[in-house]
Subunit: 260 residues, 2 copies
Amino acid sequence: MSKHALKLIPSSTEHADVPSDCKNCGAYHLCMSLWLKTGDSSLLERVVKKKQVFKRGEVLYRMGQPLEYIYVIRGGSVKTCVSTEDGEVQVMGFHTAGELLGLNAISNREHKCEARAMGVTSVCEVSVERFEELAKKDPAIQYEILKIMSAEIHHGQELLLLLGKHNAEERIAIFLLNLSRQFEKRHCSATEFTLCMSRSDIGNYLGIAEETVCRIFARFQDDGLISSEYRNVKLKDIKRLEQIANQRPLRQTNVASLYS
Amino acid sequence: MSKHALKLIPSSTEHADVPSDCKNCGAYHLCMSLWLKTGDSSLLERVVKKKQVFKRGEVLYRMGQPLEYIYVIRGGSVKTCVSTEDGEVQVMGFHTAGELLGLNAISNREHKCEARAMGVTSVCEVSVERFEELAKKDPAIQYEILKIMSAEIHHGQELLLLLGKHNAEERIAIFLLNLSRQFEKRHCSATEFTLCMSRSDIGNYLGIAEETVCRIFARFQDDGLISSEYRNVKLKDIKRLEQIANQRPLRQTNVASLYS
DNA sequence: CGTCGCGTTGAACCCATTCAAACGAGGTGG
DNA sequence: CCACCTCGTTTGAATGGGTTCAACGCGACG
């Protein structure tokens, strides 16, 4: 509990209620680059259909639902996950202020994952039809769409690398460092922050059991790498965390096999 | 070695040499839907810059390289993989005739993964500039781009689910069944086919050790689920394979936690 | 106050990895 | 032709990391 506190959580909870002015919105910069390249700032009001607030646990959209809106997160946090017919669930990502949700469904107009608010979350709903009208007229917007989908592919690749090639300790180190960088980008403290997701969600996301997450958090704390109580985390030795994240003491992969 | 053989490997090796006629190309249908919506069939020749053949192990493009061409696979097989600075590699996917490669780099014009031929592989190189010119004029092509990127995201999600929520046995069962479906789509035998990738590649792709792949192949064979010698695989009991693929005897995931 | 969700810790088990060794196929060169 | 090498594959034995099951503390909430 530092007194000279930087923000421990990003712009989310401060104005989880609908902000009257977009300039306070976590998605402000994103929106500007998206719509306002057209030079018409009133456009924004015409495109954004509805501003809406979701409470903790509420669903923005489900798998299989037709794509109606694209969501811009103003504040709060959302998790996306896919599930199979037999009930297993995989958390795909955690999303906070400034991110766009729903774009990956734009091709077949059907959501391929589910989005659920993890805390009180404020979003802008953008009509897909309106959005596509704009995109058709403005190549810059098309380009933004590509960039976002591309980023999503890239994030998926990183997660894949995480699940395929790292043990539990490394996964959590990488996870914490990624969070740290994200917070830094949002001008929050990179070393002290509050997680918006449960241990269970972290475990699911990283492909390890909830208990393992706890244990490794405890181990990291014992080793002086971090200090954590519940969802408050403080990174105390980023150097060593990075060392763990990048260590590869595994069997040296047969380089020759790359050429097969 | 059945005498009344269906094709065990798709159109690949048969015309790994450059086919003079696009109608023999594995990517024929894809190309038609991509370019010929414009109604101008000579367009195809103007856009496709070069037809090229890669030998086993040769690289189409590396991570970090500027995006110059998009590749349409005519025949053969290609694996894409990402790697980190410290030398670990994760196979992202196996690609065969009819697939497009390189599109996910279209936003920042820099390849985010590496593509390497697994056997003799024939491709069409398509100039990105030319391609984008076309895309700008034709919304249908933009839509195709979105569809392909969307499919890539979807495939990534499935792989993520595989790595995060399934044990080795299930992963291989799912892998084999996916292959089976792919072959079926290409009008090859769905039950008897030849793998184009090594055990090592399979293991890397599925996030398990090479030896584990061998062992499970052996176990499946002992149990009469498949018969396999080297890269020739025959699925003998798809029902039970599907049963393994969909079984979830794991701890029942706390459904309530979904709502957090 | 009792319940529920979340977090934590302990102990036993087991699946997958790791290390090691060996085999067959294919290629090369003597 | 055979010796030799490499690469991909296979199998065994031992180890360990992570899961699983269980129990408990804690705070929020009705």
